[in-house]
C-alpha cells in the first residue's frame, strides 16, 4: 500500500497538514497513523474536561464529524509508526505492516518526561497529564478524599491542578524552581498568579524536590514530608524525535526543519511539538510546543508537501492560559527595556528592544491583547505608531491613518 501523503500523528499539526494539502491537491491519497484510539482533539482541553468545562464528545468535535471523509483521509487508529525507511520511502507499522509514502509528515508530538526519582516505581497511583486517556485514568483513580501531589509547577502541572480541583481532597505542588510558570512569567507575574492559585487551596513547595517516595509519603530535599494518595508527574515534555533520528535525520532538541518544514531526510517533513522551527524574534531554531504553532506549522508543511509554497517564518512563543478565572496572555521574550504597570492582580509588562515590541506579559488585563501580539510578530517599528497610547491600552488608534484604512477598509 502506498499513499501520496502519509502523516504520523493525529493531533493539531496533522489537521493543519491535511487542510494545507487539500488547498492544493484534492486528489492525492492521504493516510494518518496514530497510536491513540480517538479522532483528533486539542490536547490542552484535557484539564477543561476534568473541570467539566467540556465533554469528551465536544473535545472530539475539533473538526466536524465528516472531516476525515470529506478530506478523503484514511485514519489508522491504534497503530504505531515503528520505523521510517527513507531509502524505500516506507514506514513500518506496529503489527508488521509496511506502507509507502510520496511525502511524509512526522507530527509525533512529545512525551511526558519522567526523571528518575527514588521510590517512584513503587508508587501505585502515578500519572502523566498529556492525553485524553491520561485524564480518564486520573479521574478514575482519585476521589473527594484523595491527597494529590503534583510534581511540576509549569503549565501542565498547574492546569492539571485546576482540572482536578473539584475532584480531589487536597492539592500540593512541588517544583525545583523557586517560582511557578517560569517559562512564561517574570518573577512579579509568578508571584501574582501563585497567590491567586494558593487562594484556591493549592499548597506549593518551591525550590524543593522529592528526594524519595515511600509508603504514601514523599520526603522532600528540604526534609519536609508530604502524604499523598496519588502522584502526577508534570516535570516537562520531550519531543518525540526517535523516528527521525533512527532514519538518519538531523535532530537537536527537536527534529530540525527548514522554513518549508522539511527535515534533512528527502520528502520527509516535521511539524508540531516534535519539531524545531525558527523563532522569528531570536532568529534561532527551537521547539515551540504550542497548539497554534502546531496548526500553522502543519499547515505550511501540507502546502509545501503538495507543491505550493508557504514559509513558516513568523513563529513566536506565545501563550494564553487561565487559572480559576485569572487570565494570562504572553508573547515573545523579555530581553529588553521593560515598561511595567501593576494594580492588584492586574499586571502588564511590555518589553521593547531596537524600536520593536519584543514581548509582553498581561495578567488579568487581557483585552485586545492580539494587537500587542501583532506588534511583536510583525516587528512593527515603534516610532511609526503612537506607542504611548498603545502602552496604555491596545488600540487601532495608535496606528497611522494609512494602516487603519487598510485594516478596516481593506479586504482581509
Amino acid at each position: 500500500m502506498k499513499y501520496d501523503y502519509l502523516i504520523i500523528g493525529n493531533s493539531i499539526a496533522a489537521v493543519g497538514c491535511i487542510e494545507g494539502i487539500r488547498e492544493n491537491d484534492t486528489e492525492g491519497s492521504i493516510c494518518v497513523v496514530t497510536d491513540e484510539n480517538y479522532r483528533v482533539y486539542g490536547r490542552p482541553l484535557i484539564s477543561y474536561y476534568l473541570w467539566n468545562k467540556t465533554t469528551e464528545k465536544k473535545m472530539l468535535s475539533y473538526r466536524p464529524d465528516n472531516f476525515y471523509k470529506k478530506n478523503d483521509v484514511e485514519l489508522m487508529l491504534g497503530t504505531r509508526a515503528e520505523k521510517i525507511n527513507p531509502e524505500k520511502k516506507t514506514v513500518s507499522l506496529s503489527g508488521g505492516r509496511e506502507i509507502g509514502y510520496g511525502k511524509l509528515l512526522i507530527a509525533a508530538g512529545s512525551s511526558p518526561f519522567v526523571p528518575p526519582m527514588k521510590g517512584l516505581d513503587g508508587v501505585e497511583k502515578k500519572f502523566s497529564f498529556m492525553t485524553l486517556d491520561d485524564a480518564k485514568v486520573l479521574a478514575e483513580a482519585i476521589g473527594k478524599d484523595s491527597r494529590v501531589l503534583i510534581v511540576g509547577a509549569g503549565l501542565i502541572g498547574l492546569k492539571c491542578a485546576e482540572g482536578i480541583s473539584d475532584r480531589a481532597g487536597s492539592l500540593t505542588v512541588v517544583d525545583l524552581a523557586n517560582r511557578i510558570l517560569p517559562s512564561i512569567l517574570d518573577e512579579k507575574g509568578s508571584a501574582i498568579v501563585q497567590k491567586h492559585i494558593e487562594r484556591r487551596g493549592v499548597k506549593f513547595y518551591l525550590n524543593d524536590s522529592v528526594a524519595e517516595f515511600k509508603d504514601g509519603t514523599a520526603t522532600l530535599s528540604s526534609g519536609k514530608k508530604i502524604e499523598y494518595d496519588a502522584v502526577v508527574i508534570a516535570v516537562g515534555v520531550r519531543p518525540n524525535t526517535a523516528l527521525a533520528a533512527d532514519a538518519g535525520g538531523e535532530v537537536n532538541r527537536g527534529i530540525a526543519t527548514d522554513l518549508k518544514c522539511v527535515t534533512t531526510i528527502p520528502d520527509v517533513y516535521a511539524a508540531g511539538d516534535c519539531a524545531e522551527c525558527l523563532n522569528s524574534i531570536t532568529g534561532k531554531s527551537q521547539v515551540l510546543a504550542l497548539l497554534p504553532n502546531a496548526y500553522m506549522m502543519g499547515h505550511a508543511a501540507g502546502v509545501n508537501m503538495s507543491g505550493g509554497e508557504e514559509l513558516y517564518d513568523d513563529a513566536i512563543p506565545m501563550n494564553a492560559i487561565g487559572f480559576w478565572g485569572l487570565h494570562i496572555i504572553t508573547a515573545g521574550d523579555y530581553e529588553g527595556e521593560a515598561y511595567v504597570k501593576r494594580e492588584g492582580t492586574k499586571y502588564k509588562k511590555l518589553v521593547t528592544a531596537n524600536n520593536n515590541l519584543r514581548g509582553f506579559i498581561l495578567i488579568d488585563d487581557i483585552e485586545r491583547a492580539g494587537i500587542y501580539t501583532r506588534l511583536v510578530r510583525e516587528k512593527t517599528p515603534l516610532d511609526e505608531i503612537d506607542f504611548e497610547a498603545i502602552k496604555e491600552r491596545p488600540q487601532e488608534m495608535a496606528f497611522s491613518r494609512a494602516v487603519r484604512k487598510d485594516d478596516l477598509g481593506g479586504v482581509k
Binding site: 493543519g16 477543561y48 467540556t54 468535535s61 475539533y62 478565572g325 492580539g370 487601532e396
Partner: protein
Amino acid sequence: MKRIYVNEEWCLGCHLCEYQCAFANSGMDDMVKALKGKTIHPRIQVEGDNKISFAVNCRHCSDARCVKGCISGALSRDKDGVVVIDTDKCVGCFTCILSCPYGVIMPSSDHSVVQKCQLCMDNASGEPACVKGCPNRAIVYEERI
C-alpha cells in the same frame, strides 16, 4: 464575500453602532428593556477622540489566525466565509484574544466563553445591525475586491 468596512471620515463617534449591536444580540425585541441601565457588551467598539473616531469589529479574515489557533475548534469559517464561534465548544482559554491582530474578539459578559461579530447572521437582525443603525454611513456592508 460581503464584509463590514469602516470609513473613519464619516464617523461621528456617536457609539450608536455599539448599542445596535448589543440590542441585536440581546435576543430581546424591546431596545429599552434590553439596554436601559445595563452595561452593554457589544461586539463592535468605537475608538477615538474628539477629532478622529471609527468603529472596529471582526474583519472576517480569509486566513484567520483566531481559527488556526483555536484549541477546541470552536472558531471556524462557515460556508459563506463568516468567522463564527460555537460557544458550546468554547472553553474560554482566550487563545483567540492572543491571536487576533485587530483585538476584536472579547470575553462574553460572564467571561466563560468569547464573543465576536458574526455579521448578525446569528440573530434576528438578519443584516448587520451596526450598519443599519449608523446615521452617517460610516459603517458599510458590501463586497470589496
